[in-house]
Amino acid sequence: MEKKPVLEFSHVDVMRSKDLVIQDATFTINQGDYVGVVGPNGGGKTTLLLAIFNFLPIKNGSIHLFSKTIQAFSEWDRIAYIPQGAIHFDTHFPLTVSELVSLGRITHANIGKPLKKTDWDAVNVSLNLMGIGDIAHKRIGSLSGGQKQRMFIAKALVRNPEILILDEPVAGIDATGLENFYKLLSDLNLKKNLTILIVSHDLSSVFCRMTKILCVNKNVYMSDITKEIDPNVALKKVYGEHFHFVFHEHECKGDFHHD
């Protein structure tokens, strides 16, 4: 079955503080894709994400979300975002888990209006989906690392988004926590057909679990992992010719996209 494109970049140049950070980016992400965004530090990964949200000036080219240019696009509740280092918040901030997740229900349409019962019902559904319904009234500062991850995903999912964008949300998490986090995202991708874009430095998880890889270092290269035989073809373009990643598929744990 033909998959619908949800995000399309066409020859896009993105400026940041008068510098050209992304050059001639052209790629398409379809509904249900699970995309790992990789590349060296300072290569423009976060800039690429910010361009999707129309936060940065685009010098050339066009970006389409759900077939509309981002300038004309207004249904931002179809997209959810978890920013860089989200779990490293101020632990003294006076919020409970349900209060934080409820903030995900704010949309352009309900600014200045109180949340309704349907919004709080959605909060409960999202918390239960992430398996943290029992800690809804706990303070966010008292949670474990794993619970914080689930809480932020619950906040993102409470909008019922079609695209979930994550910018290195797991920086500082140990290997087991990381594995659980990627497993959780894989489940959402497979069961809810959620399109996921995630900036990650964990290449093993990217190649184990994701369907596409977006390599970013000013220029942008997209590869379909399910078809690409040697991952280094894409990676060398952004990390340099000296780079060599040895990928052992048999070391991948849990459920995979390769079906």
Binding site: F53, F55, W76, D77, I79, A80, Y81, I82, P83, A86, F89, D90, H92, F93, P94, L95, T96, E99, L100, S102, L103, G104, I106, T107, H108, I111, G112, P114, L115, H137, R139, R159
Partner: protein
Amino acid sequence: MIDSVINDILTLLGFQFFQYALIGGIISALATSWIGLFLILRHESMISDGIAHTAFGGIALGLLLGINPLITALVVSIIAVLGISYMRKKELAKSDAAIAVMLSLGFSTGLIIISIAGGFNVEIFSYLFGSILTIDNIDLFIVSFLGLASICFFGIFYKELLSITFDEESAKVTGIPVRYFTFTFNLLVAFTIALSIKVIGVILVVALMVLPGLAALQLKRSFRGTMIMTVCFSILSIVIGIFFSAVYNIATSGVIVFFAAGIFLITAVYHKIRYNV
């Protein structure tokens, strides 16, 4: 003894000046408590001290020109807030340095105006240390207008403000016009400081803005619970302060801050015992 105090309080409640003071004080408590809590959460508590000191220049200007000093203080406070925001945005100075620039500029302007005018010591003293018991109907109108504007804004947009305060980037993505909200919040900080000057004075504004919120945060409640406790602590401090100062003829602002600090100490001890930190 208690009977005599109760009699004094009942007698005071019959006076118009005391009723004005209570109304002005409670409106001020409601406005300062939410702004103060958000300033703490944004790590910008000292902006209230900086703007209040800058407003001193506006008070002196008002006295010199014969305009209500609360109005000139408001105008100067707004200029100070915008100046601090501009310096931060253009990276001319970090937050603390930008506050220092406006504070010193405003305060020195006030001193120059006072020396040119050759005095108005009594009036200046009442704005430096507050004089809620002498609030007249014009001042009460100004305090009520500014306070209610601030309270209404919070009542309508509290969830958006909370979202921006917790994580500005995510708030932008959810469709909240962060720039407009931040601008309006800054204006309301100026509004609230201007109205607080009559209640507590330039010197102690920061205490009224910070202590109730800080005390509420020690209780580790939800945001809703923390907000309610902040408002309660603020109203309690101001009302007790007004009664005590009227009955015992002590400086009102001093008593208000003394009680607010006392509440903070009690909650800090509770926090230490309850959470063993």
